[in-house]
Point group: C3
Chain length 268, copies 3
């Protein structure tokens, strides 16, 4: 379908299917420790900490837990049981689906002998405007600096974003993607389902990673990148996979053949 017609379709469906009516107010069992606008809709059993700033028309569905010092922009909607840790920032028009966790500690430990010593994670998660985050997705807070999710980013379900990552404007990631810590993903990048990006890498703008692909080096040039073992019947796979482990040896055998055939060629 033509892209513009697809966007047109999106708008028509939205017009024909307005969202359910909001019921502003603080609902039963909610505990709100900050001053919130009258337009806020705080669902049942929501907990809102101290020093929280809510924009206009924010909806917090039942069971959300909003830590101290959090800021959430106008018209944002958090579905049920979302958790936002202390001091995180969420922009305007966010849609965050049920069970998502924003601002959990990054995975940072120093080795001391055989044991791991926790490195306190004192950065935040800072999320721009028009971001959508899927169900049961987790975004870790930064260690010292912040984890950054730019305007217009769309994240599907079951995604993991490590500490100190920076995700560029209008990037989109399908389900089950993982981005390890301190990696920068450029603007308009797309990452297919279950794509995995190692830590401390830089993906330039307009890099597209295929589903199921592991990226272990930085990618500065725009384009589509893939690394997936091709599917096969199990018996055929067994044969090929076994040979794969001897591939370097096979390359040597071919080089040997080439060397041997070289003098023979001279004769002809």
């Amino acid at each position: 379908m033509h892209q513009n017609s697809y966007a047109y379709y999106a708008r028509v469906v939205a017009l024909l299917n307005p969202p359910a009516a909001r019921r502003p107010g603080v609902h039963r069992g909610a505990v709100v420790r900050s001053a919130v606008p009258e337009s806020a809709c705080i669902g049942e059993n929501v907990v809102v900490g101290r020093g929280v700033q809510l924009g206009d028309n924010v909806t917090l569905q039942p069971g959300c837990v909003i830590g101290d010092g959090v800021s959430i922009g106008d018209d944002s909607l958090l579905h049920a049981n979302v958790v936002v840790y202390d001091r995180c920032v969420i922009g305007r028009r966010a849609i965050i689906h049920a069970g998502a966790v924003i601002g959990s500690d990054g995975f940072g430990f120093a080795k001391e002998g055989e044991r791991w010593v926790k490195i306190p994670q004192i950065g935040r998660v800072v999320i721009g405007d028009d971001v959508e985050i899927g169900a049961n997705t987790s975004i870790d807070r930064g260690a010292l600096d912040d984890t950054l999710i730019a305007d217009g980013v769309k994240l599907d379900n079951q995604i993991q974003i490590g500490h100190n990552c920076s995700i560029g404007e209008n990037a989109a990631m399908a389900g089950c993607v993982g981005i390890a810590g301190s990696t920068r993903v450029g603007r308009r990048c797309t990452i297919g389902g279950a794509g995995m990006i190692s830590g401390h890498l830089e993906l330039g703008d307009d890099v597209h990673v295929s589903g199921g692909t592991l990226v272990a080096r930085s990618l500065s040039r725009p384009g589509q990148y893939t690394g997936v073992f091709p599917l096969d019947g199990h018996a055929e796979w067994l044969q090929n996979a076994a040979q794969l482990r001897r591939l370097a040896k096979l390359v040597e055998r071919v080089a040997e053949l080439e060397k041997k055939i070289k003098p023979m060629e001279i004769e002809y």
Copy 2:
């Protein structure tokens, strides 16, 4: 172990270990906006929306959030903090584990210039009888039509099912599986842990996908399918993986050798 004896074992263990006694009633802090049977056990701080239909002996453990218009069949058990979005349907004897999310929006956006426009997701999730769903698993609602989970399906933890998928009767999927949108999985299929199925595919009945395998094409014939890079010591892997990226070239070199040796053979 013989399969029948294994099923027999399952029944004996069940007999010897009856589930904890249910305590019917609406517990403290629960907010119930629909008429529910007296046999319902509505745990602490559960929220049940408007127009919800519960069968007999439904158990909703603490912190569950059940949207408006949801239907849940007889004898179903939702563990703590499960979220079911508006209008979704769950059959009889369901077991849904903690943190699962049923009916979150599918990942549907139209591109408009650099930005993504959300396509409203107005379908439902419809789940048959005797389905078990693991902890922190997410199942997206359909865009226009419904996402369908047939009778007897068993889903492990941390699974992602995209919008408009259809999962056939008695299919089973191990942990961390992802099924992208609009894919149909046949009856009695099994998908090993972390298996990933791309979108808009069709897997016939009795297709078995090995763990860690990415499926990027439809599979109509029954059988076991695999695509996994074989494990090796890191040094050996480095060698073989480097050669793999030159495999097409190696094939050319072998073809060249074959061409050269052809005339020599005639002489002998």
Copy 3:
């Protein structure tokens, strides 16, 4: 950075950034059915079941659901909306992040004709001291015996640990890892992001699995193990992946060439 200096840095950051003050007491909407120490901090809308044993200075943040007979050691911190199923044991100084689920049923079914019969999961999860567990991570209870997480284990977000696994002391796993049922992971093992370990395997002490690697056999020797399809431009990948499915055939062709060239060599 030198490891000791890194650990030193961790301690300095911790000193300069003490955790937010605890507010002991049972907060609004919490339902506590067991006797708990005065030092416990039970957040809003927490549910604590019967026969629960809490050590000193335990913090349960809002929305946590603690099943009957659970035990949690001194100084442990459960972030918001964590669910701990009945009878599980958590040691001292645990940090469990939001949305984690401890003790859900293992994925155990016996086949009976076309249908799956549930095998009751009556073991527990037993977690040692100084364990950290990431956001939205799930750990299944054992079928008969227990799932064991030893002292000092660090688990990142979105991890799945199957029933009856045993994870050795000070092992660490990055995000999106999956460990299938009944696998034993040795002491000090590390598993990179999205690493997947099949069921019923044994990984010895000091085994290190690279990110994105599927392990389908036991590994007794210490060392680094890897199995990842190398990333490439999509066009190049297509070429190489297609050849990969004919690798066994290529090996035969090379062997044929070697056989043919053998008698020619004698002449020289």
